[in-house]
């Protein structure tokens, strides 16, 4: 059954549709646009998708001042909880909240089931791949992936060769970015295998949005995500031999890190200690924390510090965030570090292009979730295609993340494209290109109006003895009209994500 949109007028493909004289309560949607991208709430004809009907009705019946009031309540709650990041632009450091949008994004049960199977398949493959390249390197001998791409990657850690990792689980926490193409199918945009963040926003958004729409929330049958911290704890525990007594800590770079709130939040929710590098010391290849009563042995570290900074003796010697000697303790098997060092080699944007082939190589299966079509600029044919079509492609540096080092062709000026082309030709191996995908859009509250904004989805995958994915994720939203960049460092916000149980 299709629900006729109580809302209109819509614009279709940028052209304003004929206003529907009967619909007067539709005001909040006055400037809502439906174009080529898939919309999370409406079909192309402006009809509400059935699984969004209850939410849509609630939004349409609330006066826009009330929506704004609820939105402000969410923001104040974030500010009071200290869910902020610090901007050091002027003399005085100011704290800002990461914008959260009141209107949840809804994912159907069947869609989620496919996501769950696809991500499980993917994380299995990536872990097997990591075990392989830090072990026998069969995948390189068989010529599936170029040797130079792995050994030349700046995230490859020679020191990890021959290190035995519990359950072969190199990646214990993974945040995979999914987007919806124009046909509505979810595809993988990026794997984040190093220190993915954002899970606290998933939980914090749920907290405030459930309060804003209690009725719809209950009626919709939204699946729980609140057990994420317990699942994370169980995953970490499963990595140590004496699971119950294992002493676990979360390692943070400290209070100035933009994700500090999340580190403290997870430590508190798991009931484990939050430590900084300076709290730990290594004696005789055993890791200890300095406590008021003396030194206390540590068994498992959930680290939120990048590889480079974990151990100044092994990696960057100028790091003051890490623990000198911890890597030797790790090699000696006296401490578990999650995620394992060296996982970054597998979320490289060039390796990404090979993941579908890796899935069939290791598992003999077809990928359940597709990749975005990717041109490897290291291949001459692809390079010339990319250079000829810069105005239609997104070009990304392979080792970068957070939206840095990329060119969004259609939105760039000719001068920007020319400058980027020069960089591309100078160092083609460092770049990949993808068609500009119109990320799907979802209704978003902007200045009291409901407008369409582009969104992606980052579910969090836990992987130890077994794989667990809590049904939900972080929906990131590009708050600027027309923008496709959802990164919080570049004007992105986030939304609650409702996965339905039926």
């Amino acid at each position: 059954m299709q629900h006729r949109a109580a809302a209109g007028p819509f614009e279709t493909d940028g052209v304003k549709a004929a206003p529907d004289a009967h619909v007067t309560q539709a005001q909040p949607y006055a400037s809502y646009t439906l174009g080529a991208p898939y919309d999370e709430m409406f079909t192309r004809d402006g009809v509400v998708r059935p699984h969004c009907a209850a939410l849509h009705e609630r939004i349409s019946t609330l006066p826009s001042e009330e929506l704004v009031r609820r939105q402000q309540a969410c923001e104040i709650s974030f500010l009071h909880q200290g869910i902020t990041f610090t901007v050091y632009s002027d003399a005085q450091a100011t704290e800002r909240i990461i914008p959260t949008d009141l209107l949840p994004r809804i994912v159907r049960r069947d869609e989620w089931d496919r996501i769950e199977r696809g991500l499980t398949q993917r994380i299995r493959t990536l872990n097997m791949f990591l075990q392989d390249i830090y072990g026998d390197a069969r995948v390189l001998k068989d010529g599936i992936i170029p040797r130079a791409m792995i050994f030349g990657s700046r995230h490859y850690r020679r020191e990890m060769r021959g290190v035995s990792v519990p359950h072969g689980a190199y990646v214990n926490v993974c945040g995979t970015d999914l987007i919806r193409g124009e046909d509505g199918a979810f595809v993988v945009l990026e794997d984040n295998l190093r220190v993915p963040s954002g899970v606290s926003y998933m939980l914090a958004n749920r907290e405030v949005v459930r309060r804003a729409f209690p009725g719809v929330f209950r009626a919709a049958g939204v699946r729980n995500i609140e057990h994420y911290p317990q699942e994370l704890l169980a995953t970490l525990r499963s990595l140590a031999p004496h699971q119950e007594e294992a002493s676990i800590v979360v390692l943070t770079p400290g209070v100035f890190n933009s994700a500090y709130f999340e580190h403290a939040f997870l430590a508190r929710q798991m009931g484990v200690e939050l430590v900084e590098g300076r709290d730990l010391l290594v004696n005789d290849n055993v890791v200890f924390a300095r406590t008021t009563s003396g030194l206390k042995r540590i068994d498992i570290i959930y680290r939120r510090v990048d590889d480079d900074f974990v151990d100044p003796l092994t990696f960057r010697e100028d790091s003051t965030l890490g623990v000198p000697g911890i890597f030797n303790a790790y090699r000696a098997g006296n401490i578990v570090i999650a995620n394992a060092p060296g996982t970054g080699v597998a979320d490289d944007k060039a390796v990404y292009a090979y993941v579908p082939r890796l899935i069939s190589y290791y598992l003999g299966e077809e990928p359940i979730l597709d990749n975005v079509q990717t041109y490897l600029c290291r291949e001459p044919n692809s390079l010339s295609h990319v250079l000829a079509n810069l105005d239609r492609l997104v070009v990304k540096a392979v080792g970068e993340s957070g939206g840095y080092g990329m060119l969004v062709g259609p939105h760039a000026t000719t001068a920007e494209r020319e400058a980027f082309a020069a960089k591309l030709k100078a160092d083609p191996e460092n770049y990949i290109a993808q068609p500009t995908i119109q990320l799907s859009t979802a209704p978003t509250l902007v200045d009291g109006q409901i407008e369409s904004r582009h969104v992606d989805l980052r579910p969090f995958i836990l992987n130890g003895e077994r794989t667990t994915i809590v049904p939900g994720g972080l929906t990131r939203v590009a708050l600027r009209r027309g923008s496709l960049v959802v990164n919080s460092s570049q004007g992105g916000g986030s939304k609650d994500t409702w996965v339905l149980s039926a």
Binding site: H80, F265, L274, T292, L295
Partner: protein, 318 residues
């Protein structure tokens, strides 16, 4: 408990106490100003500035507006109310996972509440009221801390910080009020000076408790006796030193005796000096040195706690 965490909780306790003290000084001073002569008002601002070690930030004690600004809001002044609140919150943030949500949110709200104010704005709306409000919120915070945190090691580190700070602040205030010279204990202040003593008591939340004990007849030696040696009044030095001892007995439960001993010894020594001291012994020139000695011993306890529990050398503990 992690040493770094203990350190942050200790400092959080100190800064909360300092913020409470500063907001009380400001509230009481601004309320009493109306009844003071120009000279008396300037003299009392001078004492406040000295108590806050704010001489380089507040140049002119006759300018109540500028002085209030520098003691309440100036971020350049390391002992201003705004700085204390911000440091209390910074420390709380560093141990966020050790605090209850209630404690953190209360302190965070308090901090956010003061942030947007500029002195011009405070001045037009009964300036004392803002500081009364903050004082009330700080009292509430004390209750929230008491009732939502486990009374374990972390809580005792908060207590330790709070009461070492209090012992020092009250001693300092007394020293400044009585001056370096020997106070004449037998002297009964006249009406104009009476207000100064009343204000001193109010600076320590002590006026009503004092009256219950000694009636409204304010005598300097009774004031000194009450603020130093009353065993039941929470803002007396004796009370604070008792709490310091109790807190020290409850921190670092697993530390080896040789690390505990120096802290316990120093705290016991200070307690003995207060427990067996009496105001009659302090007549003549020994009053100021007695206060200076209390403050010095508090410093020594502070340093010893740091080297025993926070920054101990890992090589010394097997």
């Amino acid at each position: 408990m992690l040493s770094r965490v203990a350190d942050s909780l200790y400092w959080m306790g100190r800064y909360i106490e300092r913020a409470e003290h500063t907001s009380r000084l400001l509230a009481v001073k601004l309320e009493s100003m109306i009844e003071q002569s120009r000279e008396d008002s300037a003299a009392s601002w001078t004492r406040i500035i000295a108590a806050q070690s704010a001489e380089s930030f507040a140049a002119n004690p006759e300018d109540a507006f500028a002085t209030t600004d520098s003691i309440a809001l100036a971020r350049s002044n390391p002992s201003s109310l705004s700085t204390s609140l911000s440091r209390a919150r910074d420390n709380a943030r560093q141990v966020r996972e050790q605090l209850s949500t209630e404690v953190w949110e209360h302190l965070n709200r308090l901090y956010l509440h003061l942030q947007p104010f500029a002195i011009e704005e405070i001045w037009v709306h009964q300036p004392a009221r803002l500081f009364r409000d903050i004082l009330r919120d700080l009292h509430t915070l004390e209750g929230v801390i008491y009732t939502t945190l486990r009374h374990g090691e972390g809580w005792y580190f908060l207590e330790l910080g709070r009461y070492i700070e209090r012992a020092q602040l009250v001693s300092r205030l007394l020293g400044i009020h009585f001056g370096a010279s020997a106070p004449d204990f037998a002297y009964a202040p006249q009406a104009s000076k009476y207000l100064d003593w009343l204000v001193l008591l109010k600076f320590c939340s002590a006026f009503e408790p004092y009256c219950k004990e000694h009636t409204a007849a304010i005598r300097p030696e009774r004031v000194a006796d009450f603020l130093l040696f009353d065993s039941e009044f929470p803002h007396s030095v004796k009370f604070a030193v008792g709490r310091v001892n109790e807190a020290l007995a409850n921190v670092a439960p697993g530390a080896p005796p040789r690390r505990r001993a120096p802290c316990d010894r120093l705290a016991g020594k200070l307690k003995a000096a207060i427990d067996f001291g009496q105001v009659d012994d302090l007549i003549g020139g020994s009053f100021a040195p007695f206060l200076a000695e209390i403050m010095r011993q508090c410093e020594e306890i502070h340093d010893t706690v740091f080297s025993a529990y926070i920054a101990y050398d890992a090589g010394t503990v097997a």
